[in-house]
Symmetry: C2
Subunit: 303 residues, 2 copies
């Protein structure tokens, strides 16, 4: 029996019309009217492919915000550091975290040529990056917007010495650290699986975001120890491998395209998410939070 035939007709709670009405500005109509130039193919050098028994998760890295942590991570990946390590934490409405279950012990896996400590990259100078700001009254940052697909918060751009930082929205990829600011080195990573924990912004280095397969991480059984750590090694999920896209055979590379966030089309997309004109909505809010926009992705070709 197919459930969907019965139920998707009613109570859908949202907004994917069977046919996009191109005369009304909706997320579906904006995508339908987009042109090839509204989309980009991320660099294979910045795509991180995580293989689990349940499938694949793909992340895009953000070196313009965390160059040193990305470099160290790539060193680790190219040493196949993560292969055979594990997801060791799943805390409900918070994060999933992975790394070496034997870290801090005599059995710890060598990080090889990677650096053990890195200066934090919690934020950067606002000068020198492009941000497409959106109209949003953000609880945490003076301004919010997008930089090449990543959600960004910043100080008031009219001030001197303003900073910009990646925000902890759903799917954000971060570098775990201990008490010291420089104790993160990309060997332990986490991803946001619940409501955006924006209080972590500027307190930890974010280096990218998931663009495919988040459900493989977000639906993991929650750990029962404090902070969602798993109690036993058996409960942890083994990481089969983490590879850069550019090191994969062509037929295993991602064929995802991501909507550019510096175009009039994306500005329309933000509008369509701000004021929902899909038929289901009765009283569109006309307002938006930075973590509620979402950047569309699509698969092209045969992969």
């Amino acid at each position: 029996m197919k459930i969907k035939n019965i139920l998707s007709l009613a109570f859908i709670l949202c907004c994917v019309p069977a046919l996009a009405d191109e005369t009304v500005l909706t997320p579906a109509s904006v995508i339908a009217k987009s042109t090839p130039n509204d989309w980009r193919q991320p660099s294979q050098d910045l795509l991180l492919h995580m293989q689990l028994e349940s499938g694949e998760v793909v992340f895009e890295l953000a070196p313009s915000f965390a160059a040193k942590h990305v470099e160290n991570l790539i060193t680790l990946i190219n040493q196949e550091y993560f292969d055979g390590l594990a997801i060791i934490r799943s805390q409900d409405n918070y994060v999933v975290q992975w790394g070496d279950p034997n870290a801090q012990t005599a059995e710890a896996k060598s990080i090889g040529k990677a650096k053990a400590e890195l200066e934090p990259e919690f934020y950067r100078k606002l000068d020198g990056i492009d941000i497409n700001y959106i109209e949003s009254r953000d609880p945490y940052a003076d301004r919010v917007g997008f930089s090449h697909g990543f959600t960004v918060g910043s100080d008031d751009p009219h001030k001197e010495d303003s900073r910009a930082w990646l925000t902890h929205c759903y799917g954000a990829l971060g570098v775990g650290r201990g008490m010291a600011a420089n104790s993160g080195n990309s060997a332990e990573l986490y991803v946001v699986t619940g409501h955006a924990p924006r209080h972590l912004d500027r307190n930890v280095t974010l280096i990218g975001r998931a663009i495919f397969g988040m459900d493989k991480l977000s639906s993991l059984r929650r750990g029962t120890e404090p902070l969602g750590f798993y109690e036993t090694a058996e409960e942890a999920t083994i990481i089969k491998s983490i590879r850069l896209g550019s090191k994969l055979p062509k037929d295993q590379q991602s064929n995802l395209e991501i909507m550019r966030t510096d175009t009039a089309t994306f500005a329309d997309y933000v509008k369509s998410r701000t004021t929902r004109l899909d038929e289901w909505f009765i009283d569109p809010t006309g307002k938006i939070g930075i973590c509620n926009v979402g950047v569309p992705t699509r698969q092209v070709g045969d992969n």
Copy 2:
């Protein structure tokens, strides 16, 4: 092997100190210093116990915001309407939804004495309810705060005819509806499992929130059909029963206490979540979003 002994020492990404330092205002120290009067036991008549094979989920209902939908839901529950029905949708970073897989067909289960249609309760008059507002620049509402444990948005309270509504934070319990505003009747329910979909505020009736066991719903495998519906009946999770607390034997009733949200202690708790003084934080934001506060719960007694 216990994972936690090794890993919880480092990279904890957060903030549960081994011993609460009562001289510093942290979430742990506020809870440690609270008195019995800072906590309440919810009415057993307003607790909804959902039994799944994986365990129990408990919700508290909010009749002050959705009296008719709560009344209809209680009618359905007392007819044991939900027993044997199913969770039919799990959409990543959005909602889990349950009801009758045969709804809208000849095999639909009878809703008995419950009403098939109800006037929407998307919002209510601000007059007549107590809200403890918090200082937060909310993207969606003029003001935000708490009303008896529930997160609430409102129009500017100084205006005439201001409205108040429950907000779609993580764990919010809502009534699915079709295209028509009055097409929800509490026979199909959903709970927020991802980043707060606040664009749904005032477009659908919220009737409560989860206070225990959310991980049982949030970690369900995501459905692969559009909008996260499951493809086959086999993938759906059977609901063993839904009961009101007051109809359960005493030894099966919840012994949860919830921190009151109208006290000086809770105001301190909000402060401690706004400016995180736990040792791990280097640059506390000094800011907070309504869905990032969380209302503490604790278990008392032996149950």
